[in-house]
């Protein structure tokens, strides 16, 4: 077994001075929203630990998570792969193929049983004995279970692995299933989004490596550091929402002034993610800032919550007319009014035809 380098050793050998190493640690601490006292902890962790092996599997997905990951600016994806983790398997990036690639999985289990992080992009389909996603001639779900058996923890990248995402949208023909419903006995960190923000991905991963622990998770298994607030809570267009200034149609007067996109379907008020603060592609912009409402892509089953362009979503009745709460409710209330009027009329008629019939009762 080769000697495992600590992160610090690798950095030093890359010509990084101790001084800039410590600076990196304090920046990391600040980047994670932690106090300066954590910089020392990070430095200590990185000095004493070898690079953690990561096995990155792909199920049914579109590879947008990997594409997002390599957009990371801080830290650079190249630095993550070369210096922070040991990416021992990732079929999108690895040089080997076929059985040479698959051998690496067994080697990792042999060398690092119980020590590697399993990063899952995409999800396994369960219909057709799993053969809607075949890898090395076998169902993907077998590979996932096998690698999960020996891992330390799982990171569920993106909405596919976390919730199911687009292939699991109604009627989910392949029975694509999120990781936590297939792997029940391992800690799972969900990093939802379609895709998640690059710096959120690298932030979660570096936290796990630097602190050697899972980030604190919310009720649904998402790291609180990035998923504890709605986009709406920290949206720079929030003052327009509170004022009642809305974009009524795309490219109208309000759109050109950057008004709130709530009326054209923005799901920022119901979506937990870091877009409005961390922003995308090096903190440059994010969907609302560019003029399109949030699709809610980090939320469970966001595909089946009705049109992306209405604030009031529907019951997900497929194939028929849209059934929004307002429409159904309005019809019910209208029906009640008509029913009441009819009943009142019938009561009068009944009263008159029955003459002086004595009635007893009630409200």
């Amino acid at each position: 077994m080769p000697t495992r380098d600590t992160f610090y050793e690798v950095m030093r050998r890359h010509g990084v001075t101790r001084r800039s190493f410590l600076k990196f640690c304090s920046l990391t601490a600040a980047g994670l929203g932690l106090g300066p006292e954590f910089a020392g902890k990070i430095a200590h962790a990185l000095e004493t630990k070898p690079r953690t092996p990561v096995i990155w599997l792909h199920g049914l997905e579109c590879t947008c998570c990997t594409e997002s990951f390599i957009r990371s600016g801080h830290p650079l994806a190249g630095d993550v792969v070369l210096s922070m983790i040991s990416l021992d398997y990732d079929d999108t990036l690895m040089a080997a193929a076929g059985h040479q690639a698959e051998e690496l999985l067994e080697q990792t289990i042999e060398k690092y049983d119980g020590q590697y992080i399993l990063a899952c992009e995409g999800n396994p389909p369960l219909n057709e004995d799993g053969m809607y996603c075949i890898q090395a001639g076998k169902p993907y779900v077998e590979k996932l279970r096998h690698m999960a058996d020996h891992c330390k923890a799982i990171v569920a990248w993106g909405s596919c692995a976390s919730w199911g995402c687009v292939q699991a949208a109604r009627p989910n023909p392949t029975r694509a299933t999120p990781i936590h419903k297939v792997i029940l006995d391992k800690p799972i960190v969900k990093v939802p989004g379609c895709p998640p923000i690059a710096e959120v991905m690298t932030g979660v991963l570096t936290y796990m490596i630097a602190f050697d622990e899972l980030p604190e998770l919310d009720r649904q298994g998402r790291p609180k550091m990035f998923y504890s607030q709605r986009l709406h809570d920290k949206c720079y267009r929030r003052p327009h929402f509170d004022a009642g200034q809305f974009v009524e149609h795309f490219d109208d007067e309000g759109a050109r002034k950057g008004y709130c996109l709530y009326k054209v379907g923005c799901k920022g008020p119901t979506t937990y993610n870091a877009c409005s603060t961390v922003e995308w592609n090096g903190g440059l912009s994010w969907p609302v800032k560019s003029g399109h409402g949030c699709l809610g892509c980090a939320e469970d089953n966001f595909w089946d919550k009705g049109s992306f362009y209405s604030a009031v979503t529907d019951f997900g009745v497929m194939g028929g007319a849209e059934a929004t709460a307002d429409k159904v409710g309005g019809i019910l209330a209208g029906a009640a009014a008509i029913g009441v009027a009819a009943h009142a009329a019938a009561s009068v008629v009944s009263h008159m035809t029955r003459g002086k019939a004595q009635e007893t009762s009630h409200d």
């Binding site: 997905e61 947008c64 997002s68 957009r71 690895m94 001639g137 795309f250 490219d251 592609n281 194939g319």
Partner: protein, 597 residues
């Protein structure tokens, strides 16, 4: 079977040793390749199996057509945005919506940025390691590498010290024993031909390109809010332009536009000073590796891309033209009409689907998809442990699309061949000058390297084209037009009750079409026929083989245990299996129960 000749003129012989490569890594999605090699290790039979199926079009049925772009965008995160754009085009076609000029320019800019970034990432991160030996780079002389770099371009990062640092970085990485993504590969194989200095230069640029690619996509971030998966809009683009009014900070303003302009300049620099010189340098060591032509010298096709005129998707408008070439005859280019039921058809004889009439091809508007996972009698292994597939039966999750019954190759090379044959000035000049530099005839393009070269040239063409499109858009804004979206037909009440539309274009990987049928304001049927389905297609009812299978034939392998040559050729197509293994929506049909035999 011993030896057969396919109707499209390829000889298949499955007598020799079977070599299975699954997974093919460094692609998008899951692909399996099986080949038979003869006693001289030359590939005589090839089988391409699409390994995944997600059912997106089934999922789209009954949804709001204005939402479709977001669903189809998730067909692929690598060529992100292209399906969304084509979906918008298809819905706009069905509803007769005309988009404003600026929206057309912004869409073109985003698509060009996609081409530039996608081709760059493909070359360095998905393809280069088929030609570049990382371990050999360790023995390079940094000074000689510096001289090599300075002799081929003006790229400023070229000092001996710079290359020494990178070399040390790689050395430490290798010495750590944790080789990560470079583990268990084919380093030292005799199939690698580059001298150590060229290897070191290429590995250095592997890392630089990884850092730089994320800059190009910022054009998506500015106009679409993020990348991957930026936002689009039926009727135009969701970003508004406001350059000189109150509240301009809330829209696309001068600051954003200047940033776009800078990204364009930086992209042109990187592509022309790093990518293209690297491509030429690497190619010059492999000029005698002439394999992998396959269909490229016979049948190629392009739908056309980058409409210069808004709402005009014909050759009058396409910056890269529409056309099909048959039997390598560059003197005749046929028009490809996506609406003609006789032209584009999909077959499922060898695909894991069933049709009412199994051997008949169906035009996408009439498409049916009922999954039918059925393995042939000569399968080696079991249903859930396939050792060797039986290609006489059904063997792929991909359908077999055909143009007038012909298997076609699509992609950058196909686009360039069609443009070349159509007499496209810019393309002719790019191709001719490159061939002259390398001292090669035009037929040299019909190869794995030809595909790789065409992609590089197209990347450069795209980066430069962004400049022109951007300048045109600025002129239009200067003329007082700031409109980016046409909302006249936004409300479903304005739509026809029953209508069909098609959106065609070219993804970085090749010809892409989306066909929609909208009924009572909902999607009745949605179909996408994507580039990798064309290229990686299994056999059709006539036995015609697809582009991947054809391209592998005749290639000698240095060592069948190391599938480097297979990877080279397959990677030259830039496979995208998540795209390819989509599904057609059956008109009102339930998904069938699957039987195994």
């Amino acid at each position: 079977m011993t030896e057969i000749v396919t109707p499209n003129g390829f000889t298949l012989d499955d007598a020799g040793q079977r070599v299975v490569v699954d997974p093919i890594c460094r692609i998008e999605g899951h692909l399996r390749i099986e080949v038979n090699v003869d006693d001289d290790n030359i590939i005589r039979n090839a089988v391409s199996t699409g390994n995944m199926w997600r059912g997106l079009e089934v999922i789209l049925k009954g949804r709001d057509p204005r939402d479709a772009w977001a669903f189809t965008e998730r067909i692929c995160g690598v060529c992100t945005g292209v399906h969304a754009l084509l979906s918008c085009r298809a819905v706009e076609d069905a509803l007769a919506i005309e988009i404003p000029k600026n929206a057309n320019s912004i869409r073109n800019l985003m698509m060009l940025a996609q081409y530039t970034q996608d081709h760059l990432v493909h070359f360095y991160h998905l393809h280069a390691l088929d030609w570049v030996d990382v371990v050999s780079a360790l023995s390079a002389d940094p000074r000689a590498t510096s001289e090599l770099q300075q002799s081929i371009s003006n790229w400023p990062k070229s000092s001996p010290g710079y290359f020494r640092d990178v070399q040390n970085k790689i050395k430490r990485f290798v010495e750590s024993g944790q080789l990560g993504p470079f583990a268990n590969a084919y380093w030292g194989s005799p199939a690698y031909k580059l001298p150590p200095e060229a290897n070191l230069m290429a590995v250095t640029h592997y890392l630089e390109a990884l850092d730089f690619q994320k800059e190009i996509v910022k054009i998506h971030t500015i106009f679409g809010g993020r990348n991957p998966h930026p936002n689009w809009l039926v009727g135009g683009m969701p970003c508004s332009i406001n350059v000189n009014e109150t509240g301009a900070t809330g829209a696309i303003n001068m600051a954003w536009l200047n940033q776009v302009s800078d990204i364009i300049n930086a992209s042109i620099d990187f592509i022309d000073q790093v990518y293209i010189p690297d491509l030429k340098a690497i190619a010059s060591f492999y000029t005698d590796w002439t394999f992998g032509g396959g269909l490229s010298g016979k049948n190629v096709m392009s739908y056309g891309e980058f409409p210069a005129l808004a709402n005009n998707y014909t050759n009058e408008s396409w910056m890269l033209p529409n056309g099909a070439i048959l039997n390598g005859d560059l003197s005749t280019v046929y028009d490809v009409d996506p609406r003609d039921p006789e032209q584009i058809q999909e077959f499922v004889t060898h695909s894991w689907y069933s049709y009412p009439n199994p051997d008949q091809g169906l035009h996408p508007w009439d498409g049916v998809t009922v999954p039918n996972f059925e393995l042939g009698p000569n399968l080696k292994g079991t249903k859930t442990n396939i050792e060797a597939i039986d290609e006489q039966a059904k063997y792929s999750w991909l359908k077999a699309p055909r143009w007038r019954g012909n298997a076609m190759e699509v992609g950058p090379l196909a686009r360039f061949l069609v443009a070349y044959a159509r007499g496209h000035e810019e393309v002719k000049e790019l191709v001719d000058s490159t061939l002259t530099d390398l001292g090669l005839p035009i037929t040299a393009l019909f190869s794995t390297l030809g595909r790789t070269a065409a992609r590089g040239l197209e990347c450069s063409w795209s980066a430069h084209k962004m400049r022109g499109v951007f300048d045109d858009m600025m002129a239009n804004i200067k003329a007082g037009d700031v409109s980016t979206a046409n909302m006249e037909k936004w409300e479903p009440a304005t739509w026809p009750k029953d209508t069909k539309g098609v959106g065609i274009g070219e993804a970085p990987r090749g010809a892409l079409g989306h066909w929609v049928h909208i009924k009572d304001t909902k999607l009745e049927n949605y179909q996408a026929v994507v580039p990798t389905t064309w290229n990686a297609s299994p056999r059709d009812s006539q036995g015609n083989i697809g582009a991947y299978e054809a391209a592998l034939l005749g290639t000698p392998m240095a060592d069948p245990a190391q599938p480097l040559e297979i990877l080279r050729t397959i990677h030259s197509f830039d496979p995208c299996l998540a795209c390819a293994s989509h599904v057609m929506s059956p008109d009102g049909q339930e998904l069938a129960v699957v039987k195994i035999r």
